[in-house]
Amino acid sequence: MPNHTLPEENISSKSLRKKSLIAFLILFAFLATAWYIFNYIKKQPEVAGTPKPLRKALNLNEKVFSSLFDSSKLVKEYPISEAAKKVRVNGKDGLKDSISEQSWRLKVVRNTGDTFSVSLEEIKRLPKKEIVFDFKCIEGWSQVSHWAGVPLQTFIEHYNLQPQSKMKYVGLQTPDKGYYVGIDMPSALHQQTLLCYEMNGKPLPLNQGYPLRLIIPVKYGIKHLKRIGTMFFSNEKPPDFWAERGYDYYAGH
């Protein structure tokens, strides 16, 4: 026989009824409150496409996980043989205009009114880094793919942007400003973050962001902006296309 029994007690029918009633009232009150809170949150005014309390929760998560961010932790890399030949294309925002390498320049804003331009040739002369990693979409799919370009960190050092890199965020925009992202500086300076001009050993296809795109393996695909037009630095969160449409701003791994 089990050596434990449950405690028993004699109780008057009246006090039994009272205890049961109170317990059930508390349960109903609790479940009704939970239902009320759920609907209350859904009805709250939206901040950047999601009810304010949920946006607050995302910002709290961002605080927690950006403080845990360890830039020495690297995204797993794969052999080139495992990279997909047919690379998934998931978005066309910001790619509507035509583009030519001759006229394209990366505009870098040092400070307001202090801008310089860099051509693709100049970017290609900087040390090149290749990466084969599991590209992860916020939708839930992932694909091992092969990219090459200059680490953003190297670019920043080469163009003496160290003072700017002390700021909190990097902002990137497509030339038509149809797509834009904000990246926290620790993720931007991560050694696997690339200004990327090659996919599978060839120049980027148009639908993959020719001539230059961001590859930032510590973030979801929504942050890997295609066809970079402008780069700027800020202590405020730069505007972010998907974060204005209800998604998490941080979107980091």
Binding site: N10, A23, T50, H253
Partner: protein, 227 residues
Amino acid sequence: MPGIKRIVHKHPLAIRWFHWINFPVLACMIWSGMLIYWANDVYKISWGSTVLFKFFPQGFYKSLHIPFRLAEGMNWHFALIWVFAINGLLYVLFTIFSGQWRLLLPNRHSIKEAWLVLLHDLHIRKTAPPAVKYNAAQRIAYSAIIIMGIGSLLTGIAIYKPVQFSTITWICGGYETARAIHFILTIGYVLFFLVHIIQVVKTGWNNFQAMVTGFEILPPSKKTDNA
């Protein structure tokens, strides 16, 4: 004695709170999880090249208003995960430190006894083995659900932050495997819930109300000493 009832204290107040907090929170986690899963709904049961069941049919999505709500799903999921995780952690800690684990965890007789419970529940055997709070089948089921909860938490972390928690992702068999396990565990909760409801309805009011009031009322004929 007329007007006097004998009761047995079954569920401590803390466990009742953990149970009833978990109910709406887990429901919301499963709902928001479906909003997320819809965006890449790749899982199906196949026999050879024949798809037997696709998770999920379009009609199912439509009737529950699931399509095109990925962001909303993620935001609820990553807000409520804190409540789910903290409530679950407190439940486990309470179970350990209150000694309730003795009434919960399976022991060396549980496998054999659970079989006898099953035969009894299927009306093949007349008597069920004696039990204090939970019978052997319940001990196995209610312990398994804790393991499943821990599994959901770990596989969830594995797909939420696969770089910062790369070790957890590796333990879970990688990013895609972790997502698949996370999904299977959720299906497991739904099946658990269905069996749980059927069993609670079958067992009757006295048992059910004990999860609200804490006590069960003993039948008048029952001797006061069940030691």
